[in-house]
């Protein structure tokens, strides 16, 4: 892998070609093509029902694409012989509903997959887990169960859980949409730090401020297509499509 070169010049770490997805007779994705380079932060915007979450879930095959190609680190993840578990190890995902394991405390939420998937020793897994919890500002909540944590804290534990697997790409699926407004910030701060640390991120969100400040590139989706794509200033200040303009106008008001 030519990772010695600077970020924009490298080959894409994740490459999507003509991705289609339909649920029954409903076409949700109608041909998505997208390249994401190492270290890049891509924010996906769009009205609900535009297919952005489905697109994200296809990237680690939580949804099975109907057709198309997804190349991750040089490997076609849709191939029948692809090892989907080893692909997912390298792609962290953060969900809208956190999905922490309620029967485990924060520490063990972060430890479980390290031990079972990466086969790390208990000591190693715990060390990494505490490190990641500290990174998201929850070192003192290690022995709290999910139902004892606020939504924002839960989401930060979920981020720590994903990061503990040393992923090469992080996928965020409306990570702040289920949070009370006052808790959103803590989660966004963690995401922002992650971006500044050079993590490759694909972020589905409604947080315009985050998109503007953090994104290297913004993608606007509607009706199963990518309608607009570009640097944040360009998409926000000079949208080419009138649907993009309408959406941004609506959200900004």
């Amino acid at each position: 892998m030519p990772d010695t070169a600077t970020a924009p010049a490298t080959d894409p770490i994740l490459s999507v070609r003509d991705l289609h997805k339909s649920f029954g007779s409903t076409d949700v994705l109608k041909g998505i093509s997208l390249d994401i380079r190492k270290g890049e932060v891509v924010v996906v915007l769009g009205p609900s029902g535009s297919g952005k979450s489905t697109m994200l879930r296809c990237l680690n095959r939580l949804e099975e694409p109907t057709s198309g190609q997804i190349i991750f680190e040089g490997e076609d993840i849709c191939a029948s012989k692809a090892n989907v578990n080893s692909i997912r190890e390298r792609m962290g995902m953060v969900f809208q509903q956190f999905n922490l394991f309620p029967h485990l405390d924060a520490l063990h939420n972060v430890m479980l997959a390290q031990e079972k998937v990466l086969k790390r020793s208990k000591e190693e897994a715990e060390r990494v887990a505490r490190e990641q919890l500290a990174r998201v500002g929850l070192a003192d909540r290690a022995d709290y169960f999910p139902d004892e944590l606020s939504g924002g804290q839960q989401q930060r534990v979920a981020i720590a859980r994903a990061l503990a697997m040393d992923p090469h790409v992080m996928l965020f699926d409306e990570a702040t949409s289920a949070l009370d407004p006052e808790l959103v910030r803590g989660v966004l701060d963690v995401m922002r730090e992650l971006a500044q640390g050079g993590m490759t991120m694909v972020v589905v969100t409604h947080e315009m401020g985050f998109a503007r400040d953090v994104a290297d590139r913004v993608i606007f989706m509607e009706g199963g297509y990518i309608v607009e794509e570009g640097a944040p200033e360009q998409v926000f200040e000079h949208p080419r499509s009138k649907r993009t303009r309408a959406f941004i106008g609506q959200v900004a008001s």
Binding site: N85, R88, F95, Q97, F101, P102, A113, K116, D147, E148
Partner: protein, 436 residues
């Protein structure tokens, strides 16, 4: 069977002893020189189930009969009743039997004194007639543990003291503590008036409650043993069935669904009959107890399958997705993420299933598995009282009531929040927490 032999042997031994005694007397000494001789010394049989047995801690009577020669001049008779046997002098009966066939009865006048275990009879007139002297002591309670009771006696005749020889021992059967308690209860006035009520006597006879307790307790242990094996063994069966029912392969789904529908759609009683009467006809002979366990296990497996299936489906899809997104395999996600949550969720349902299964062990009584109801039934058959069934009911409740309470508690807790030790900041934030 055994006890009949036992008593027969004992009776024979007694006859032999008495015979030997008289032969020795007759052979060794000429009749006139023969002093007072033991004819018999017996206790009155008092066992309810065996009409020839004398048992401890139950009211009985000691009869000492001796032979006297004419002109013997017996002035005083002392009976020494061994330690541990109590007696009363209230209804003491002292009689002389005279005449050729000893058919003439004559009350003897006397003064009695009791000195510890000694009962001393001073006769108003020396006994000079030839015949038999019979002394009956009432209100006798032999020791609860039983054993051979040796009554000793001595007498004073014409100013000289003699020891009465060759007194046979009285064989007493020991009884258990509960039997003794039962017999004691039987004597109590409140029990007697309680039992005068037909309903109370039939269903709540205290004496039968006491005696049936240890017997029904055996049945309780058996019933517990059946569920303690069948229930945990049913869990893997149920999990397997649940996975089969959720399998994407039609064959597995079909097999499991058919099995669950058949087992849940037919009475357990019928399943027990089919297993216990069908298998032997097919040449498969499994002992009662393991067969009972297997039938209960297969039955509850079907019910728990549905509990588990519902539980697995109730764990949110997001849990599996989160586990899979971390690279876990489907099996790992099921084992480490879904099943632990499922088990926590279904504990109240599992407890209810346990209660049902425990109660249903009673159905095994119909095919002769010795469990709670079966043990109770044996006493019902011998006493004609329903009380042992009531005792059995108590043994069911001893398990089911606390478990239902626990189930309720768990259900409430599932709705509420965990209370556990926290840092001071968290504890003060939650004032309901018990810990400071």
């Amino acid at each position: 069977m055994n006890s009949i032999h036992h008593h027969l042997a004992r009776a024979l031994a007694l006859v032999a002893l008495v015979a030997a005694g008289s032969i020795a007397c007759l052979g060794a000494l000429p009749a006139p020189a023969c002093a007072m001789e033991t004819v018999r010394c017996t206790g009155r049989p008092n066992a309810e189930d065996d009409k020839s047995a004398i048992q401890g801690a139950t009211e009985s009577r000691i009869t000492l009969e001796t032979s006297l020669d004419a002109g013997e001049g017996v002035e005083q008779l002392t009976l020494h009743i061994p330690e541990g046997t109590s007696f009363s002098t209230d209804d003491l009966a002292v009689t002389m039997l005279t005449g050729d066939d000893l058919m003439t009865r004559e009350e003897v006048s006397y003064t009695e004194t009791v000195d510890g275990q000694d009962l001393v009879l001073d006769f108003d007139k020396p006994l000079n007639d030839a015949g038999h002297l019979s002394v009956m002591v009432y209100g006798v309670y032999f020791p609860q543990a039983g054993g051979d009771i040796q009554v000793a006696a001595s007498y004073v005749a014409n100013g000289a003291e003699h020891t009465l020889e060759n007194i046979p021992t009285i064989p007493v059967v020991g009884i258990s503590g509960t039997e003794a308690l039962s017999q004691w209860l039987e004597q109590q006035p409140w029990v007697q008036s309680w039992n005068e009520n037909r309903f109370l006597r039939l269903f709540f006879d205290p004496t039968i409650m006491v005696t049936s307790f240890p017997v029904v307790l055996n049945g309780f242990f058996m019933s517990i043993a059946v569920v303690a094996l069948a229930f945990p063994l049913g869990i893997p069966v149920a999990l397997l069935l649940a996975f089969m029912r959720m399998s994407k392969f039609v064959l597995w789904r079909g097999i499991a669904t058919t099995y669950v529908n058949i087992v849940r759609g037919t009475p357990l009683f019928l399943q027990i009959y089919i297993a216990f009467f069908g298998l032997p006809l097919a040449g498969i002979n499994v002992p009662n107890f393991p067969l009972g366990v297997i039938v209960m296990m297969l039955n509850s497996g079907a019910y728990m399958c549905e509990i588990f299936r519902a539980g697995i489906l109730a764990v949110s899809k997001g849990q599996t997705e989160a586990a899979r997104s971390l690279g876990m395999s489907g099996a790992q996600a099921m084992f480490y993420v879904v099943l632990p949550q499922m088990f926590r969720m279904v504990i109240p349902n599992l407890t209810n299933e346990f209660i049902t299964l425990y109660k249903d062990t009673s159905l095994l009584a119909a095919v002769g598995v010795m469990e709670l109801v079966m043990y109770a039934r044996t006493i019902v058959a011998s006493t004609g009282s329903i009380t042992p069934y009531i005792v059995a009911a108590v043994f069911y409740l001893v398990i089911t009531l606390p478990l239902s309470k626990i189930t309720r508690h768990l259900e409430e807790r599932a709705l509420g929040h965990r209370t556990r030790r926290r840092t001071p900041a968290a504890a003060s934030a939650a004032p309901t927490s018990k810990e400071a």
